[in-house]
């Protein structure tokens, strides 16, 4: 199977070594041949649609034009922000006001897929199931989708936008359990982390609290912005609210790799900030030796807050 692939800036940046690598690793395992959209540009993200609507459509439009020259039927977009902007541009550039923009979409282009939705397709799930070596039994998680993959449904075409199922389907195919919870699509604050971090801490703390209340041991995501906001500041938020959540934040692609025993999964997981290993060890899901990038052990003395000990 061959697909086009739109990585986006963060999968080339901070999410390169975990999300991007795990996605590519899993695609290789499933014999999905991905070809990067040549010379793609930034989709404009929040900044463009906030300050420059026209550019936000034309930036994404340029990518659609390039993708239109590719022969693949499907295009995988792991970043929900890019996915959202590409879907929006695709709609707007065919809509009533298309003459407001520079881009003319003359040719057709591959179907734009949110990565989690793509993996939740029956044919892909079958491929995954055939390769499972170590089912994730006993792993109890909540799935967290954030905003951009499903909203607004008018643009994304999503029908289960208030209660998405894609990550849940993948996890249960892997033998794990997803616990139902009300905050699947609640916002993590996204780029406000840089300009108004306190707002984000408050939103994320609310998510942690609920995840713990429903009995989840980890959070599974398909968005690198959600992952960063939930993973990077957990220690700080724990200290600020006097709590101890110890909730690892996994990409669903990492969990596929874990269940299929791709040995590289350890390398990807060491890139997290909140320690992803103790839970996996406890559930005997991680058969490899754990090393951090500097070769020192990651275990806290006497098992105290692992987050602070994990470099």
């Amino acid at each position: 199977m061959k697909t086009a692939y739109f990585p986006g800036c963060s999968l080339e940046g901070t999410a390169r070594l975990d999300y991007s690598k795990s996605m590519l690793g899993v695609c290789k395992l499933l014999e999905i041949d991905v070809e990067e959209v040549p010379d793609w540009n930034c989709c404009g993200a929040t900044a463009a649609h906030c300050l420059d609507h026209q550019a936000s459509i034309d930036l994404a439009g340029r990518n659609l034009k390039i993708a239109g020259q590719m022969s693949q039927e499907d295009m995988l977009v792991p970043c929900p922000m890019c996915y959202n902007r590409l879907k929006t541009a695709a709609q707007v550039l065919k809509g009533d006001h298309k003459d407001r923009y520079q881009t003319e979409l003359d040719s057709s282009f591959p179907a734009i897929w949110d990565l989690a939705n793509f993996f939740a397709r029956d044919d892909i799930l079958e491929k995954v199931k055939a390769r499972i070596k170590r089912p994730l039994s006993d792993l109890k998680v909540v799935s967290y989708y954030g905003c951009m993959a499903s909203r607004p449904p008018e643009m994304t075409g999503s029908s289960d936008y208030e209660n998405p199922q894609s990550i849940d389907k993948v996890i249960s195919a892997l033998g794990g359990t997803t616990i139902n919870w009300p905050y699947k699509t609640d916002c993590c604050g996204a780029s406000l982390i840089l300009s108004q971090p306190d707002i984000v801490f408050q939103l994320v703390n609310k998510l942690y609290e609920m995840a713990r209340r429903v009995g989840a041991e980890a959070i599974v995501v398909s968005c690198q912005m959600c992952q960063a906001n939930l993973d990077m500041y957990q220690c700080k938020i724990e200290a600020e609210w006097g709590q101890q959540y110890s909730l690892p934040v996994y990409y669903f692609t990492e969990l596929i790799a874990l269940a299929c025993e791709l040995p590289e999964v350890g390398k990807w997981l060491t890139k997290h900030i909140s320690n992803p290993f103790p839970l996996l060890e406890e559930l005997a899901l991680y058969p490899y030796k754990i090393e951090d990038p500097r070769g020192r052990g990651v275990k806290g003395k006497n098992g105290e807050n692992m987050n602070t000990e994990f470099r």
């Binding site: 080339e12 390169r16 900044a47 300050l51 420059d52 340029r62 909203r151 990038p293």
Partner: protein, 195 residues
């Protein structure tokens, strides 16, 4: 004491709807937008109040409020509005309009972040995260306040962790089509809104 009567700028909603349409006029103040909004705690006007004040032609108050900048663009309001009002898109339009009309942003850091982001795209065609953050901290003067308050320590520890883990790229990736990207960004600066 007499209360000043409300000055209504009738052109405000017309200007906005010409750029949209957002269907602002359909609002019946049910407040579903505000109920689902995750960041009302940091807003001065709730989303339904922004809509109401747009309808009442309160241009200056709306363009200078915190709400339009705090809005996290999560699209919950647009998704749930029973009258299909494009509230999140309207928030974007209000930001863009406030910048064009030279109204100072109620939260300048957010505006600076967006501007820094766009200038990174303008330079390379993609966003160079390794350069974006330092540039943003300098441009938004957060570097100074971080130094003064001592909050730089936490940021530095995280920054170093990310560096050690190899998650910060040190060099930008430039695309070949930079000139096309620049054309897109400069063209829309001229702000030609066709009605």
């Amino acid at each position: 004491m007499f209360k000043e009567s409300l000055q209504i700028d009738f052109e405000f909603i017309e200007d906005l709807e010409k750029i949209g349409p957002f269907q602002t006029g359909a609002c019946f103040q049910c407040r579903k937008c505000s109920n689902g909004c995750p960041v009302t705690f940091a807003m001065d006007l709730h989303p339904n109040e922004v809509i109401r004040m747009v309808l009442l032609g309160q241009r200056a108050a709306v363009l200078s409020c915190r709400t339009i900048w705090v809005c996290a663009s999560c699209e919950t309001c647009t998704t749930r509005c029973p009258n299909n009002i494009k509230i999140a898109e309207l928030m974007d339009c209000l930001k863009e309009m406030s910048v064009k009309e030279g109204v100072p942003s109620a939260i300048p850091e957010i505006l600076t972040l967006h501007k820094t982001f766009l200038s990174s795209i303008n330079r390379y065609g993609r966003v160079f995260e390794g350069g974006l953050l330092p540039e943003y901290f300098i441009r938004s003067k957060q570097l100074i306040s971080k130094l003064m308050t001592g909050s730089w320590r936490g940021d530095l520890t995280l920054g170093i962790k990310l560096l050690i883990k190899g998650r910060v790229s040190l060099f930008p990736k430039m695309i070949k089509g930079r000139s096309e990207v620049r054309k897109i960004l400069s063209n829309s600066k001229k702000s030609k809104i066709k009605s």
